[in-house]
């Protein structure tokens, strides 16, 4: 029984939202399990915010359906256990942090008041001041208190770390881990991979409103082009060595500064076996950048949205 699959908290099935000019989403299917962080990755305008807002029924799908903890998203009760941090965060300026919390808990927010003070303390935010007098970063903190103080099964956080300094980004990461450990599901949107890399279990990549991949960070890493720098004992041997490496499928090799730079995707076996036939002085792994994977998703024709112009 312990091996049972985690419960699906958010079930998005074939959802299409036509919205404005280009900011809709097209036939998106995504399941978000409890106890995990799902990253939502895509450039600006790729539909991340629209997807999150369709879960909250702020925009209505023209096709498909969404269940939150088995409740249809059109039912207001679906939002009872969802916490939300909007990307474009605004509050009525004259209210203090405390008054805001009252406003949203009155609206059925289900805030856990015991958690409010400890959250405020951890994030270092004064909830007695009118939010209109706060800096952008501090308003973001009020939004975080609002989201994390809610007793929720699902947290939808739209670009949550914008405006936060690195120290607070770390505090934010630990907050996310705590709620995930407690069994909640977290959906985190970002346009940069580095924000999701350490936090997300899985990443869903959006391109022009379509979901082009849902993969674990490890799977994404495996997609990342790895790089090796090889130096042969005999400097003249680099030419035949480079030629042999280039002939391996999926491997690119070129000579830079009397070294061979080898770029490859997947496993390294063929490269090692080829190198074994030469006398090699050093092999240095330069590592692959996850951000490059993203660029592949965005530029590769294989991932281009189908049916479009």
């Amino acid at each position: 029984m312990s091996a049972a699959a985690p419960e699906i908290v958010l079930d998005v099935r074939g959802v299409t939202v036509r919205y404005g000019s280009a900011r809709g989403i097209d036939d998106v299917t995504l399941q978000v399990p409890a106890g995990q962080v799902t990253g939502l990755l895509g450039p600006n305008g790729s539909g991340k915010t629209t997807l999150l807002r369709s879960v909250l029924d702020l925009v209505h799908p023209s096709a498909g359906s969404i269940d939150v903890a088995c409740v249809d998203s059109k039912d207001r009760r679906a939002r009872a256990r969802v916490a939300y941090l909007p990307g474009d965060l605004s509050f009525p300026a004259r209210l203090s942090g405390h008054a805001l919390l009252r406003r949203f808990s009155a609206a059925g927010g289900g805030l856990e008041h015991s958690r409010v003070d400890s959250l405020a303390k951890r994030l270092g935010i004064d909830l007695t001041r009118p939010v209109g007098t706060l800096s952008r970063g501090n308003r973001q903190k009020v939004g975080l208190v609002l989201a994390f103080a809610k007793n929720s099964d699902l947290l939808l956080l739209d670009e949550p770390t914008s405006g936060l300094d690195p120290l607070l980004q770390r505090e934010f990461a630990s907050l996310v881990r705590e709620v995930v450990d407690a069994g909640s599901a977290v959906v985190l949107s970002s346009h940069v991979m580095s924000e999701l890399e350490d936090l997300a279990d899985r990443v869903a990549v959006l391109r022009e409103g379509r979901l082009v991949a849902v993969e674990t960070i490890d799977q994404l890493r495996a997609r990342a082009r790895q790089r090796l720098r090889v130096r042969t004992v005999d400097p003249n041997a680099i030419y035949p060595c480079c030629e042999r490496l280039s002939s391996i499928p999926g491997v690119e090799a070129r000579i830079i500064d009397s070294m061979i730079e080898v770029t490859y995707v997947g496993d390294v076996d063929g490269i090692i076996k080829t190198l074994a036939t030469f006398s090699v002085q050093s092999v240095e792994s330069v590592g692959g950048e996850l951000d490059e994977v993203l660029l592949d998703f965005y530029s590769d024709e294989r991932f281009a949205p189908k049916g479009g112009a």
Partner: protein, 274 residues
């Protein structure tokens, strides 16, 4: 039963109470201003009561202009109240408040990006809409009453004497009239998500229909169109003379409900802007 009752109250009242907390100061200042304006206008009556000069001047005006000014003479309490207070001045003051508040209640929150977080709570759009309507109703009711209070309180001294029941009838007429245009402003702005459009439609209708109703009293071909204007049904002279005109009150209320319901349908169907 009581748990269910509490839940219903919570669902229907939560945002309303929060909104009132957010805006009671502005409502207080509006109330003070309306009380002061009404007291001022009421106290002027003392100096002109019974003078025929006004009647003579009024009588010498062309009929169309008399119609636009309310069509009754200023020398009597009913004539003075309907012309100076109720026919245009106070409706205009209350409309500024009501249209402003009505359009800011949903479209304003949307334009200020504060609506998202509110509707991310387990509140239905219908419940939110009704709470916002109720917020405007409360504000307009308080200001309508604030118009009548100084008149009644100063009646002995100012000689501006109208039976209290008729004053309350006029108050109800003023309330229903202002609410109709406020409802139109709220409905249009909520259905399209633009404060300015709701304001424009309501203020534009108030102005154009005022001219149609006013000139329609003397211009024959305009006369049939008067029944389509809210000003026609805002029958404050009848209220001050004979008490509550239930028929026209019902027309204004029914029109408000229809307009409000259409706005709700539009608001429920729409994709909100982030």
């Amino acid at each position: 039963m009581s748990a269910l009752h509490r839940r219903v109250v919570r669902e229907v009242m939560s945002v309303l109470v929060s909104d009132l907390r957010l805006r009671w100061r502005s409502l207080l200042w509006w109330t003070v201003a309306v009380l002061a304006l009404s007291a001022l206008v009421a106290s002027f009556y003392k100096s002109i009561a019974g003078e025929n000069a006004y009647e003579d001047v009024f009588g010498s005006l062309p009929e169309s202009l008399q119609g636009l000014l309310g069509g009754v003479d200023l020398g009597t309490p009913v004539g003075y109240l309907s012309t100076e207070m109720y026919s245009f001045f106070m409706p205009a003051v209350l409309l500024v408040f009501a249209i402003g508040r009505a359009t800011s209640s949903l479209a304003g929150e949307e334009e200020d990006h504060t609506l998202d977080l509110l509707l991310a709570q387990p509140v239905s759009r219908t419940a939110l809409y009704l709470q916002k309507v109720l917020g405007v109703v409360i504000g307009v009711a308080i200001l309508s009453i604030a118009v009548a209070i100084p008149v009644i309180a100063l009646a002995e001294w100012s000689e501006l004497k109208v039976p209290a029941a008729n004053m309350w009838a006029a108050t109800a007429q003023l309330f229903a009239f202002v609410m109709f245009l406020a409802m139109l402003a709220l409905a249009v702005s909520a259905a399209v998500g633009r404060r300015s459009l709701g304001m424009g439609v309501a203020a534009g209708l108030a102005f154009v229909s005022y001219l149609i109703d006013g000139f329609g009293k003397s211009i024959e071909w305009l006369e049939p169109w008067r029944v389509l204007t809210p000003w026609y049904w805002y029958d404050v002279s009848a209220a001050l003379t004979d008490g509550m005109p239930w028929g026209s009150f019902a027309v204004l209320v029914a029109a408000s409900i229809v307009v409000g319901a259409l706005g709700l349908v539009g608001f429920n169907r729409r994709n909100l802007r982030a």
